[in-house]
Subunit: 372 residues, 2 copies
């Protein structure tokens, strides 16, 4: 709904939150910010959290206050929303292709510190021409494929070739390597994640050394997600980290093993209400897949033994009630832990922030739906 | 983005549509409206299409112009968006529970024809009290469980008991039965869908006859989706039908068999662009799961042999390129058929309507994000 009117006012009781609603537990959120700052203290790696998870300038500002050097975005329109809100140091961890988007990107670079990734010489030259026309110098990082098999040139020679192209145009500044290993994040065991990141770091190291021998220094080597950032931080290669989900967590991340790693708490919930109690073993809640994304599994009912969210349709969630569980009442408010935080946040215009059983603030999710 | 500014102007070339974008082919859409009207001509069943699929008042108005008696919604806030836009006959095909929502529902009933479903006597009395306070008489349908095992009382005696409760309060008017069999819609064979709907119709018929013997007429018996509506129309029970997806279609519906049934065309697309061409057999497009919902399977690349969308992450789509396929160019615009139309539409604020290679109109998706 494009009304611009927050769904509830600060000071209201949490019982007054109408459902479904996206709710942030501020105490848990604050502890997650502190846990990350503590985890990285002394590591030598800067934190540049990914804002694709929250799309919320209020959160970006709190991350920066807690020590982050800026943020990451995936889309030009997402970056615009943050720059408009005063977040002035953005790495777009993605390729930006095509005249319309490239024009928006270089325009943004005239009023904020913007860096962008490339994996193709033609795209580098497209960026260079637009940056030249706009009279800006754009920082570019080369994305290398360190195992996720999505975007990126191969490590080694292909990266060197592309770096030389970038160095040959005055409107681009070669800023380093983007070496994100996304497919490591949800490997369940700590050992698997560590090994996978060690391989990614080795590929980044080889490329960095090759570039160094050609006289091209890599100021920044960036990557990492919530599932792996301690391994990138412990490497001698990565000096910037871009985890996003750590502030919220979700059911998919909780399914990872975390032995010996920093522990983040669930701070993000979808509040839902019981709308039907047709049998003693089945209830239906008012949050379906338009309220909590199911791409990475079903949401989990928080702090309620014996309730299992088993099926989501567009606007309904079917919850199985175990034999020994208390039957929820019709209308009762329940809390869901989303299966995947990022696309769930993207379903909402507002984040309702609670503390001590009250609504403390309502934050606009300014980059919700920022797709281009 | 809450700007209220359409992403493109009418008259623009389709090549100028920046991606990802939600695009409606108006010729195909118009033919789908006509196909549905022709299919139901003479059946005796009224069409009340489900607006949860499109969330767009411009579409609702065209459906009504093509013969629909009104629309269905799932949520109070969704119904509000349509009533605000002048669509004044809405069946909420869902239970509305809790003081805040019930208050909004009865307020809406003072300025439009509103009906709602119930499956619980406590909820019926909650609605009755609010309607009484507001001085309105609310039409209510009893939802019966005809096999989907979601909401709904069991057919037969439980429905009769609830109907008597409704008849005993002057602020409610018993309007009939809601007998939607959602789990029939994507059974792949025509025979399976027909058989499943015959069972649902039998349960609705039994209940209707029981109510008739108790002197309680069912004015309306409603149900059906795009996958099954011809079977409800052919029954002697259903007199109102609520398909939604027929105007758009999606990959999940195309996977159904349609032998002998009316054929609808794909009219809804997610336009995407190639953002990376890392290998001869893998390209990456700029539409991931925030641009095309994957709850019912991956999107399908339209009208392009040898491209298979194999993996969606938040902002990326990985597309496999077959040996014999033409390699798409960096920046090339492709058309995706969403896996599931309803949640995909809900990701966008605007629907870009095209005809003859031009943008003809841009329609606001006014009920996007209308969750409560």
């Amino acid at each position: 709904m494009l009304t611009g009117i927050p769904p509830i006012n600060p000071g209201a009781s949490i019982a007054a939150i109408d459902t479904p609603a996206l709710v942030l537990d501020l105490d848990a959120f604050d502890r997650n910010l502190a846990t990350m700052a503590n985890a990285l203290r002394g590591s030598g790696a800067r934190l540049r959290p990914h804002a694709k998870s929250h799309k919320c300038p209020e959160i970006a500002k709190r991350q920066i206050k807690a020590g982050a050097v800026g943020i990451c975005c995936q889309k030009v329109s997402e970056a615009e929303a943050f720059v408009d809100a005063g977040v002035l140091d953005v790495l777009v961890t993605n390729e930006i292709v095509g005249a319309a988007k490239v024009h928006r990107l270089v325009r943004l670079a005239s009023r904020a510190r913007i860096a962008v990734c490339v994996d193709d010489a033609r795209n580098a030259l497209e960026l260079a021409a637009a940056a030249g026309d706009a009279g800006v110098v754009l920082d570019v990082l080369i994305e290398i494929n360190v195992g996720a098999d999505r975007c990126g040139v191969l490590p080694g020679e292909p990266a060197l070739t592309l770096a030389r192209t970038i160095q040959n145009v005055p409107s681009l500044r070669f800023a380093g390597l983007h070496a994100y290993q996304g497919s490591a994040q949800h490997l369940r065991s700590v050992a698997e994640r560590r090994t996978t990141i060690e391989r990614a770091a080795a590929a980044a190291r080889t490329t960095k050394e090759l570039l160094a021998r050609a006289g091209i220094p890599c100021a920044t080597i960036t990557g990492a997600g919530t599932g792996s950032f301690m391994f990138e931080a412990a490497s001698d290669v990565y000096n910037e980290l871009q985890p996003g989900s750590y502030i919220f967590m979700d059911a998919d991340y909780h399914a990872n093993a975390w032995d010996g790693l920093p522990q983040f708490e669930q701070s993000l919930f979808v509040f839902t209400s019981v709308m039907s109690t047709p049998t003693p073993h089945r209830i239906v809640v008012d949050a379906g897949l338009k309220a909590s994304s199911i791409d990475s599994g079903m949401p989990v009912v928080s702090a309620y033994l014996g309730l299992e969210f088993v099926k989501a349709s567009d606007e309904h969630g079917v919850v199985r009630v175990a034999d020994n569980a208390r039957m929820p009442a019709l209308g009762e408010q329940l809390r869901l832990i989303p299966g995947h935080c990022d696309p769930t946040v993207n379903l909402y215009d507002w984040m309702i922030c609670i503390r001590d059983q009250r609504v403390e603030a309502v934050w606009p999710i300014s980059a919700r739906g920022a797709l281009v």
